[in-house]
């Protein structure tokens, strides 16, 4: 980890914070994001916190193997005994690096290139701990691994997390991340997440963000998939201040399949920017992308999705859809679905829309005595429903439907039942 730090420092020095002039960051002003003076917890002060006191996940019947990250620290104190199959590792990146260097070494820093992105460089330079998930060959983890990221501090804080997920050949796992912020402080969380999905491995990765208006989150996620592997990913932003998610999926083995979905519900001054790149490096892969935004008040949404098909990646099938609802005059949406194709035997399409609720559907419901407010709600709910339905975890899916509905009714300002916010 330390070896990479120096190189990261040089790369970061060279690049600086990305400005809006950099094409990938044209919709989010990163200089502004990084401008406030945040404290960095270099001394590794333990924040006195007992996650179990404050956290009760509200997803009923979702029995998960539960882990906590407080700021950028893996919380490894009292944990109810979670049974994981043999060989499976879920733990502090730092600690595991000392105990099992042979597991980490082939993977750490291999996908997140510090020379390509300055946020990655900054994170590599500053990250001191994070999460490591390792699923050995042919091991199937039935129980969902839930990781709750909690931002907690008495001063404004910058946390730099590092996540490494490795699924060996034939392994299967479901991982759920929940992002929460506890104190009414300004937070800046950067996260670099590297995901390796081995041959014939299957990963479901869900990422739910429900923080508050003062928190800023910058994540860079890099995925590499080997042949016959599948990835089902869903990124949901419900509450946040400013969020910038970069996702790069590299389909490196033939017949790999990836489904990347996302859904954003934003109001007030929320700012959500999703930037995705799916690279088809070999023939016969399939990718599906669906992102939906509902923007209200003066929120800003941005989506830039690029599908890159390199020369000779024939028989690629790729579909990308971005649909957006702008519900107020001040909401602003930027969308940029891109195709860059160098192979000829491919089927690629993308579609993108910005619009409002269907007047006819509204009229139909009004005719049947449904109040306008209710009708609008139903339509919005159905609109994001498509994304939520892509979640394969049944209990989580049901819960999210419920949460979304409450979110649209404005009754919900955070994950209900979870006391993080109280």
């Amino acid at each position: 980890m330390n070896a990479l730090r120096e190189k990261a420092y040089v790369d970061f020095q060279r690049q600086g914070f990305p400005t809006r002039k950099v094409e990938e960051y044209r919709y989010t002003d990163m200089e502004e994001v990084f401008a406030p003076d945040y404290g960095v917890n270099l001394q590794r002060v333990q924040f006195p916190v007992n996650p179990h006191d404050i956290f009760k996940c509200s997803v009923p019947n979702l029995s998960t193997s539960l882990y906590f990250m407080v700021n950028d620290l893996f919380h490894n104190s009292v944990m109810p005994k979670t049974q994981l199959p043999e060989g499976v590792v879920v733990g502090s990146l730092c600690q595991q690096a000392l105990e099992h260097p042979e597991l980490l070494q082939p993977y750490y820093g291999r996908l997140a290139k510090t020379e390509a992105d300055s946020v990655t460089a900054l994170n590599t330079m500053l990250a001191q701990d994070g999460l490591f998930i390792y699923i050995p060959k042919n091991v199937v983890v039935d129980k969902t691994i839930q990781v709750v990221n909690i931002l907690r501090s008495d001063v404004d804080l910058m946390a730099n997390r590092r996540v490494l997920i490795v699924l060996e050949q034939g392994a299967q796992a479901k991982v759920l991340f929940c992002d929460h912020a506890m104190d009414e402080r300004s937070f800046l969380a950067t996260q670099v997440c590297e995901v390796f999905v081995g041959e014939n491995a299957h990963l479901e990765l869900y990422d739910l963000e429900a923080t508050h208006l003062q928190s800023r989150r910058v994540t860079n996620t890099y995925v590499r998939q080997q042949s016959y592997s599948t990835l089902n990913m869903c990124t949901i932003t419900m509450h946040n201040g400013l969020t910038r998610n970069t996702l790069e999926v590299d389909l490196a083995g033939q017949y790999a399949e990836t489904h990347v979905n996302g859904c954003v519900v934003a109001d007030k001054q929320q700012h959500v920017d999703n930037n995705t790149l799916i690279r088809h490096s070999v023939p016969n892969c399939q990718s599906n992308e669906l992102y939906k935004y509902v923007l209200d008040d003066s929120s800003v949404g941005a989506f830039a999705g690029k599908v890159l098909v390199v020369a000779d990646a024939q028989k690629t099938v790729s579909n990308e859809v971005n649909a957006n609802l702008c519900a107020s005059p001040d909401a602003r949406m930027y969308t940029q679905p891109m195709l860059e194709i160098y192979a000829d035997d491919v089927k690629c399409s993308h579609g993108s829309t910005v619009g409002q609720l269907n007047e006819q559907a509204l009229f139909y419901m009004r005719q049947r005595g449904i109040s306008e407010a209710e009708a609008r709600l139903l339509l919005k709910f159905a609109f994001v429903g498509e994304v939520i339905d892509s979640i394969k975890l049944e209990t989580l899916r049901d819960r999210l439907h419920y949460l979304m509905e409450k979110r649209f009714r404005g009754e919900l300002s955070h994950c209900e039942g979870c006391k993080v916010h109280n």
Binding site: A311, M333, L339, D344
Partner: protein, 485 residues
């Protein structure tokens, strides 16, 4: 096996060589000013054209601004380094020896345009079209001027317009494309030579198609034409533009500006068949086509449509745009861009919705073959006040071969909740089924591909005036020859 590849290559080369029919040069005495660009050159051009003081000021301002700018690098193009000092900025093929003041046009020039199929003799011309023929930096002749002026229509070269209608030109020049707009617009504003000026007065429907034919002839020169079209209230005009250049080893620069102003309820149709020399099959030479085209839909319920068939040029950097300012204005953009061999195209449009109830349609068809790169880049922007704006975009790419690239970079920026913006794009190769169907009926592969491609581009070609449509269809076939097999 190896031999057959060699033979195939030879065949391809043969085709590639014959495919550019307009590659000849004309031996005509041309007055070319020295290479290089500085304030004196700008002054010299202005002086040669006998321009008024305000226009010289305009040029100098643009030139000084150009000096502060850098070449844009955001396009998906591998642009050769352009040495702006090794180009001559003014070449006048009509210049005769002093004292030779006859009005007649050099017969060589007449022959050139005849060869290109652009008759300058009015009696020979198709009655439905008036032509302004521009070679290098100078307008050679504008036909049917008298007939048009009966209706009050002004159609002449921009240099003449500066002399004869200075008020009109001064009012509209630079009002749509400011010289600060971009690098090439600044360059053009500083050194622009000739181009066409069209003014259609209130309530007049232009009875014939107006057309400008651009030709680059002289060596190591650039063409910097400037076209200005103004359609006053309730006017209508259909305008065509065609262009060719001789085959040269070095890249030639073509940086043009087209400005269109459309007033209340007026309608302008602007069609381009761009067939600049695309370079040889090795990617050597060819025209660098760096063009800024923009229409301002100033009046309410005004309409503007851009139709372009892009088959030529080594590099195309062109985004005919519309600013929909008037309430209820409508804009359309239809494009077919074909790239073969080493050609690169980064083209598309900008639709900027500012007025209420505005509507725009974008249909773009890209076809890439050989080792070419073809990108669609478009912006749809809906301003805060643009209630009920509507946009529909569809861009399709067709790939013929595994060494070429097709890309789409659409940008959408929506600031109004009542807007409906739709975008869809597909990329694919020619359907095996369609090809098989044609082959089964005894149509050779090459013809079948031509047939399918023409069908694919039909949506756009149908929008062209008839004579141009026939021409465009032929061009599509020729541009793609040798790509299959």
């Amino acid at each position: 096996m190896g031999e057959s590849i060699v033979r195939d290559n030879e065949y391809v080369r043969e085709v590639a060589q014959k495919q550019y029919a307009y590659g000849f040069t004309t031996e005509v005495e041309t007055d070319i000013i020295d290479k290089g660009l500085n304030e004196d050159v700008v002054r010299l051009i202005s002086q040669k054209k006998g321009e008024p003081e305000w226009l010289l000021e305009f040029r100098l301002k643009a030139y000084r601004h150009w000096l502060t700018m850098t070449e844009p690098a955001w396009a998906h193009l591998r642009m050769p380094k352009i040495d702006y000092q090794s180009i001559s900025y003014y070449a006048d093929p009509t210049a005769r020896k002093k004292g030779d003041e006859k009005k007649e046009i050099d017969p060589e020039l007449m022959k050139t345009f005849d060869k290109l199929g652009i008759p300058l003799e009015e009696r020979l011309a198709l009655s439905g079209m008036a032509v302004d023929a521009v070679m290098d930096s100078v307008s050679v002749k504008t036909t049917f001027r008298e007939k048009l002026s009966e209706k009050g229509i002004i159609f002449c070269s921009i240099s003449e317009a500066v002399r004869e209608y200075p008020d009109l030109v001064r009012r509209y020049l630079g009002s749509v494309v400011n010289y600060r707009d971009n690098y090439f617009a600044a360059l053009n504003s500083a050194v622009f030579s000739d181009g066409s000026f069209v003014y259609i007065p209130k309530g007049v429907r232009c009875p014939m198609e107006l057309s400008t034919y651009f030709r680059i002839n002289a060596r190591e020169t650039g063409q910097f034409e400037r076209t200005l079209i103004v359609a006053d209230d309730d006017a209508y005009v259909s305008y065509l533009e065609g262009c060719t250049a001789p085959m040269r080893d070095e890249n030639q620069l073509h940086a043009a500006i087209v400005e269109i102003v459309v007033m209340d309820r007026a309608e302008v149709k602007y069609s381009t068949v761009q067939n600049w020399y695309p370079g040889d099959s090795e990617g050597k030479g060819g025209v660098l086509n760096l063009v800024t085209k923009r229409g301002l839909l100033k009046g309410e319920n005004s309409r503007l449509s851009w139709t372009q068939v892009e088959t030529g040029s080594a590099i195309t950097w062109k985004y005919p745009s519309c600013v929909l300012m008037g309430d209820g204005s409508q804009a359309e953009f239809y494009s077919v861009a074909v790239t073969n061999n080493f050609q690169q195209a980064d083209t598309g449009t900008k639709m900027i919705h500012l007025g209420k109830n505005t509507k725009s349609t974008i249909i773009s068809k890209g076809i890439s073959a050989g080792r070419s790169e073809n990108s669609y880049r478009g912006l749809v922007k809906v301003g805060k006040q643009a209630d009920n704006a509507r946009n529909y975009t569809s861009c399709d790419s067709l790939l013929l071969g595994s060494t070429c690239g097709a890309h789409t970079f659409p940008y959408m920026d929506v600031q109004n909740p009542t807007a409906v913006v739709e975008h869809e794009a597909t990329t694919s190769k020619i359907s095996e089924d369609q090809l098989f169907y044609c082959r089964q009926r005894g149509i050779p592969t090459e013809d079948a591909v031509g047939l399918i491609v023409n069908g694919y581009a039909k949506d756009v070609i149908n929008k062209l005036p008839m004579e141009f449509a026939v021409e465009a269809q032929k061009l599509l076939g020729v541009s793609l020859e040798g790509t299959v097999g």
